[in-house]
């Protein structure tokens, strides 16, 4: 836990968690509706 109190490490870890989480939310919830979240990028 002490390493996490280092601001740089804390920011890196937080960014990784937040970005992964929101990407997962976007993908999974569109997928559950039968829609493609990556539509624009696959085109």
């Amino acid at each position: 836990m002490s390493a996490l109190n280092n601001p740089v490490i804390a920011v890196i870890v937080s960014v990784i968690i937040a970005v992964s989480y929101f990407t997962f939310v976007d993908h999974a919830l569109m997928d559950m509706q039968g829609l493609d979240y990556w539509y624009l990028f696959r085109k």
Partner: protein
């Protein structure tokens, strides 16, 4: 411990017995319900039936028909929906628009009904908190607060009943043909409704007048149990009333002529019944919280002593918190309701959100924005009662920026109301600039930014006079900041992304947008609360020492709730257009047209004004009642806010 368990067990047993007794009328009437309420609903009077029977049962033909919604076959058990004409027999009238009179009676009954259904739920929660808290002084404060709540609702309850009577008489005298048909279909339901109303009255009076007698030990548990019963009955009452409006919008259990097919459950359980039920429960709670907060603000503003001000400041805060706690999830059942409307009849959904009534939704968006702006403003003002919260003040301007941006995007229309000449001059409905804005993914982005900012304001309020002291607080703060930052990025990204993908894909973006907001609400509130465990207090909360402006914000909040409720009720009702019962019974009165937006807004404003004038009278009556001095309102535990169900 053993004694407490015994008391709880006895209370549960007593509660079960009371519920059993109260629900007995329904149980007894179940066989009748199963067969459609005894004699056929809407059928001929008994003497006619007798005559027909005399001619011989052998000749009696059993006619079957198909349910318009469930598509099942059933035995025709009622008369067709009457075909009315524009005459004084079907539509008796004064020299005034009957629909406006009915609108007024209906709206006032609904306002008071919602209020008296919501307040006992608050009482139940607050009384339970009072019983469960280990701090005796706080327990008494909660008890006093719950008592204050129910005291307001008691007078309002009588008014609800009176307005219900006025409503029925208005129906009977101005719309006899329609009301006759509706009551023929819902006859058993209406009887149960009346019985439930009697049960609710009895329970409410015992609950209120027994408060002092049942304040200790086992009797207190019984008293608390009665609040559960009160709310069960209240909720069932509302569900039954909802079945009538559900039937009018999306009829079921009848054939295409409107003849009852013998299954009362089909008539109750229409396509829109459940979404309406959930939406109305949350809506009533938010509305009730708003009205009680306005009451507290009124009492705060008229207080003569610091003790009173402290008590009503606290009361206003808790009522506001409860109201907003139900306001935030309210868009979810609203979306469900709209989805079901579209699923039931696509045209109905288009009329609501993309056609005739679409501009009313712009007004609704404005009202929702006002609700959240008022809430945030109140919380910023409330930081003023906490010593140590000054450090947050300089950030408020950024919150204002976010809220205003979200609000402006949210209220931007996609199309404009225009005269034919203007339409021609512009070359179509789409404005060359405005037509690019106002699409749903952008609007969803706007409202989600507003809600997320409100969550952030709540979290800051929770931290007002406290500093986290857990060992991982630095990481917690950074994580929270990063999470909120990316939540905003995600919401705005999805709003922009919607412009680049087809409408059939774009439509799904609202779900991850809402999920992002809810993630902030649940995860960040939980994280914040864990960080604040054993937090360092840097100053006391001085209840009552809050700006007068904050109290006007509470009144604004309540007024906006009331206006929005009137507006949405009007939208929901007028979507039937020229039908009393959608596609079954046509409205042939001279008033079967949709009012202009301006007229509707004036009418809603009149209803809101009347409600507030009358509820002010109720508040005033409350002050005349024997006063119970607020218990130890002056000195809450320094630095620690009383813990309401939600928030700080």
């Amino acid at each position: 411990m053993g004694s407490l368990t015994k008391k709880k067990t006895l209370a549960i047993m007593a509660l079960s017995a009371m519920i059993g007794l109260l629900l007995l009328p329904i149980v007894v009437s179940v066989p009748a319900l199963a067969s459609g309420g005894g004699a056929p609903a809407g059928g001929p009077p008994p003497d006619v039936v007798k005559k027909e029977g005399g001619e011989g049962d052998k000749d009696k033909k059993i006619e079957k028909a198909r349910d318009v919604y469930y598509k099942t076959e059933g035995i025709v058990s009622g008369l067709p929906a009457p075909k009315t004409g524009d005459n004084s027999k079907d539509y008796p009238r004064y020299n005034f628009e009957s629909r406006v009179l009915l609108w007024f009676a209906n709206q006032q009954h609904l306002y008071y009904g919602s209020f008296v259904l919501a307040v006992p739920i608050f009482c139940m929660v607050i009384e339970f908190m009072g019983v469960m808290t280990k701090d005796k002084a706080m327990g008494k404060k909660y008890d006093q607060l719950a008592y204050d709540f129910i005291k307001i609702s008691l007078t309002a309850y009588s008014l609800t009943a009176i307005l219900g009577g006025i409503l029925i008489f208005t129906f009977l005298t101005l719309y006899p043909a329609f009301f006759g048909y509706l009551s023929s279909i819902f006859r058993p339901v209406m009887h149960i409704y009346a019985l439930m109303f009697v049960a609710e009255s009895g329970t409410l009076y015992i609950y209120y007048y027994g408060w002092d007698k049942m304040k200790e030990g086992f009797l207190k548990w019984i008293h608390l149990s009665m609040s559960v019963i009160l709310n069960v009955i209240g909720t069932v009452l509302m569900f039954l009333a909802n079945s009538w409006i559900g039937f009018m919008m999306s009829p079921a259990g009848v054939d295409e002529q409107g003849r009852f097919l013998g299954n009362i459950w089909h008539v109750i359980h229409t396509a829109l019944w459940n979404p309406l039920n959930v939406h109305r429960i949350l809506g009533n709670m938010a509305f009730g919280g708003g009205v009680v907060a306005a009451y507290a603000a009124y009492r705060f503003l008229s207080s003569k002593t610091d003790e009173e001000r402290a008590h009503y400041d606290w009361m206003g805060y808790i009522a506001m918190s409860l109201g907003v706690a139900f306001l935030i999830p309210l868009p979810l059942p609203a979306t469900w309701l709209m989805r079901e409307v579209y699923a039931y009849r696509q045209q109905m959904g288009i009329t609501l959100m993309g056609g005739l009534l679409a501009w009313l939704f712009i007004i609704q968006a404005t009202m929702i924005g006002i609700l959240f702006l008022s809430t945030n403003y109140y919380l910023w003002q409330a930081l003023g009662r906490m010593r140590g919260a000054e450090r947050f003040q300089r950030w408020i301007k950024y919150f204002v920026f976010l809220l205003v941006c979200g609000f402006l995007v949210f209220i931007t229309p996609h199309t404009m109301v225009m005269t034919p000449a203007e339409l021609k001059a512009m070359g179509g409905q789409q404005h060359p600039v405005l037509g690019n804005y106002g699409v749903m993914s952008a609007k969803n982005g706007g409202i989600n930014v507003i809600i997320t900012t409100t969550v952030l304001t709540f979290i800051w309020y929770q931290r007002g006079n406290r500093v986290p002291s857990v060992s991982w607080s630095k990481f917690g703060n950074i994580f929270m900041g990063v999470f909120f930052f990316f939540a905003y990025v995600n919401i705005i990204w999805l709003a922009i992304y919607g412009y680049f993908i087809p409408a059939n894909v774009r439509v799904g973006l609202s779900v991850p947008q809402v999920a992002t907001t809810l993630s902030c609400l649940f995860f960040m509130t939980a994280l914040n609360l864990s960080m604040l465990k054993g937090a360092k207090q840097i100053g006391p909360i001085e209840w009552g020492k809050i700006s007068v402006r904050s109290q006007y914000a509470l009144i604004m909040l309540a007024t906006a709730f009331t206006w929005m409720m009137g507006l949405m009720g009007y939208i929901r009702s007028s979507v039937r257009l020229f039908w009393h019962v959608n596609e079954i019974m046509r409205d042939n009165s001279p008033w079967a047209y949709t009012h202009t937006v301006g007229f509707a807004a004036n009418m809603i404003s009149f209803n809101v004004l009347f409600f507030w004038i009358s509820i002010m009278f109720v508040f005033w009556l409350g002050t005349l009642a024997a006063k119970k001095a607020p218990v130890e309102a002056k000195a809450p535990v320094p630095g620690q806010a009383p813990q309401p169900a939600v928030g700080h």
